[in-house]
């Protein structure tokens, strides 16, 4: 779950080093994409973006534009040795590679063969699936004490109430418990219209519920 191989696009539009800027830009338009891996035989040799192509050619209206578009080859404007991902990489490491280098996609390569491409949109989609935001549910924010077993305790309450959990996200963010001791915020998405009862039971059990509001007892 949550591997690059699960989230990447497998159908990749590629070009060869000899493809002209004109053809490459045409492909970007036709497929509504921004990145084209450059393949020599089976081997990935670079990646070219629509922006690379545009900045290498004279602006619209310039009389030299048409000939430049015909003349310039992918080879001349591509990024050589692009950063790649492996299908077994976790999606978060691909996300981090893109974030750190300010790039929008990574070709996915195994044994020198291009298998797919993962873009920032694919990462977003993985996030949506991760938090279950495509399935109906109610969102609860709960602070659990920062020691072993407390997440299971909170999750168990949903089980006892017969409420299915759609997703759980627990991050590094620290929150205080009502008595000032350290805690961590957890976001549960649960399959019920009415999370109010669960919120009450969680509070009674000593957890701090940030949302939904719990009526004072």
């Amino acid at each position: 779950m949550l591997l690059v191989g699960d989230s990447m696009s497998r159908e990749v539009v590629t070009v060869s080093p000899e493809t002209t800027a004109m053809e490459a830009l045409g492909l970007c338009r036709e497929w509504r994409i921004r990145h084209l891996p450059v393949i020599d035989g089976e081997q990935l040799v670079g990646i070219v973006s629509d922006r690379d192509l545009r900045s290498a050619t004279p602006a619209l209206g310039d009389p030299d534009r048409a000939s430049a578009l015909q003349r310039i080859r992918a080879l001349e404007v591509m990024t050589r040795e692009p950063v790649t991902a492996h299908p077994d990489d976790p999606v978060e490491s691909a996300a981090n590679a893109m974030r750190e280098r300010w790039i929008g996609c990574l070709p996915v390569v195994e044994d020198d063969t291009l298998l797919g491409i993962i873009t920032s949109s694919d990462v977003m989609e993985a996030l949506v699936y991760l938090v279950g935001a495509h399935e109906p549910g109610s969102r609860l924010e709960v602070v659990v004490p920062d020691h072993p077993g407390t997440l299971a305790g909170a999750a168990g309450i949903f089980g006892e109430l017969g409420i299915n959990i759609v997703s759980v996200a627990m991050g590094a963010r620290r929150e205080e418990m009502p008595d000032g001791s350290p805690g961590r915020a957890v976001v549960f998405r649960v399959d019920t219209v009415n999370p109010g009862r669960a919120a009450e039971v969680l509070e009674q059990a000593g957890y701090r519920v940030l949302w939904p509001p719990v009526a004072p007892v």
Partner: protein, 381 residues
């Protein structure tokens, strides 16, 4: 025209579950006690057929609901389809009861299109969360979804506007017509960050040919009448005029009331009087009055639902809303109510003072509404 009958009160999950059909009985009796039903016929159309239900639901799902309804089926399998969860419990004859509700709303739409009635109200309808292959949010079959799909088959080219002011996003109906430019769905609801089902963000605007024809205005928790009414007035008339419907179907869930136990909005009866009056006027302005009003959510069944839906009926039937609740009705239902029922049809604004953050909430809602309009209006024609 009132589309109602005792048979439509079988859909629901009884005491202990928020979706209690007693609210329908209380509403009809309140309308009756106020004299608002005098001279109006009750119509109870035929239940929806399997073919009707299959316009928007999958055959597998339909068969599973039927099995569950007979007390058959494997509980774990059913649960995969949302059947038998805490929210959507299985009751005997569930399929038949829900098919009657769908048939009622479908029948109401057919009668309005045929000119047998100008407007119709069917408060048992409004099961807007039911998905193609999943029970969700107390809803098994999607009445508005089936009605719209059938109208489209029977009247090719028909344009349907669906306006949903339930506190929860009208997700089921939206997804059923997400690609369809002949069906405009507009939902105003408490933001999905804070409330079930979690969807209904402004970025959900339709897909493929239907881009622009799904509209969502998510509201902040604790939104009050003033802010909701001004957003409603800024959004709905402009959208409906741009779209030009042949019929309007409204989902009039009243769970955005401040007293509702399941949501965090702060509307009062003022909002629930305003919305149907406005839709009524728009129906006359745009589509010869053709309007079908359904119910929906509403979980303060003692104080809110009967009054809000009586106000709905008063608007549908062109009648003045009386001020006082008759003593007979209060005597009968007040005895059963765990809370003190209101003796007046309208809430007293003094009982609902604005909270400190009201201006910020109103400002945020106004900006959401403006941004939504700016994005979708150029796409609607």
């Amino acid at each position: 025209m009132v589309v109602h009958g005792r048979g439509l009160e079988d859909y629901g999950f009884g005491a202990g579950h928020p979706f209690n059909p007693i609210r329908l009985r209380m509403t009809m009796e309140l309308c009756d006690a106020l004299g608002l039903l005098d001279g109006y016929d009750f119509v109870e159309p035929e239940p929806a057929t399997e073919e009707d239900l299959l316009t928007v639901h999958s055959l597998t799902y339909l068969r599973l609901v039927q099995e569950a309804s007979r007390g058959e089926g494997d509980a774990a399998d059913l649960l995969q389809y949302g059947i038998g969860s805490q929210d959507n419990p299985v009751t005997p004859h569930l399929h038949e009861a829900c098919a009657r509700v769908v048939g009622a709303v479908l029948g109401a739409c057919r009668m309005v299109i045929a000119g047998e009635a100008t407007h119709a109200m069917c408060i048992s309808g409004g099961l807007h969360h039911a998905l193609r292959s999943r029970a969700s949010g107390f809803c098994f079959y999607n009445d508005a979804g089936v009605a719209i799909a059938r109208l489209k088959e029977e009247h090719p080219g028909i344009r349907v506007a669906y306006v949903d002011t339930d506190a929860h996003h009208g997700d089921g109906v939206q997804w059923m017509f997400y690609d369809d430019p002949d069906v405009l769905t507009v939902s105003m609801h408490e933001s999905g960050r804070y409330l079930f089902p979690g969807t209904g963000g402004t970025e959900e605007r339709g897909n493929n040919g239907g881009v622009g024809y799904s509209v969502n205005a998510p509201l902040q928790p604790y939104t009050d009448d003033g802010s909701w009414i001004s957003c409603f007035d800024a959004l709905i008339p402009v959208l409906l005029r741009a779209f030009g419907p042949d019929i309007i179907i409204s989902q009039n869930g009243c769970d955005g009331h401040a007293l509702d136990p399941l949501t965090h909005l702060s509307a009062t009866t003022r909002f629930y009087e305003h919305v149907p009056r406005k839709i009524h006027a728009l129906a006359h302005e745009l589509c010869g009055g053709r309007w079908v009003a359904t119910g929906g959510g509403g979980y303060d069944i003692w104080r809110v639902v009967p009054r809000a839906w009586t106000a709905l009926w008063a608007a549908v039937s062109h009648q003045e809303l009386p001020e006082k609740i008759p003593a007979g009705w209060l005597g009968k239902w007040g005895k059963q109510s765990p809370v003190e029922p209101s003796a007046l049809m309208r809430d007293d604004p003094a009982d609902y003072p604005p909270i400190d953050r009201a201006p910020e909430i109103a400002d945020r809602n106004a900006r959401t509404t403006e941004a939504v309009l700016e994005k979708v209006l150029p796409l609607i024609s």
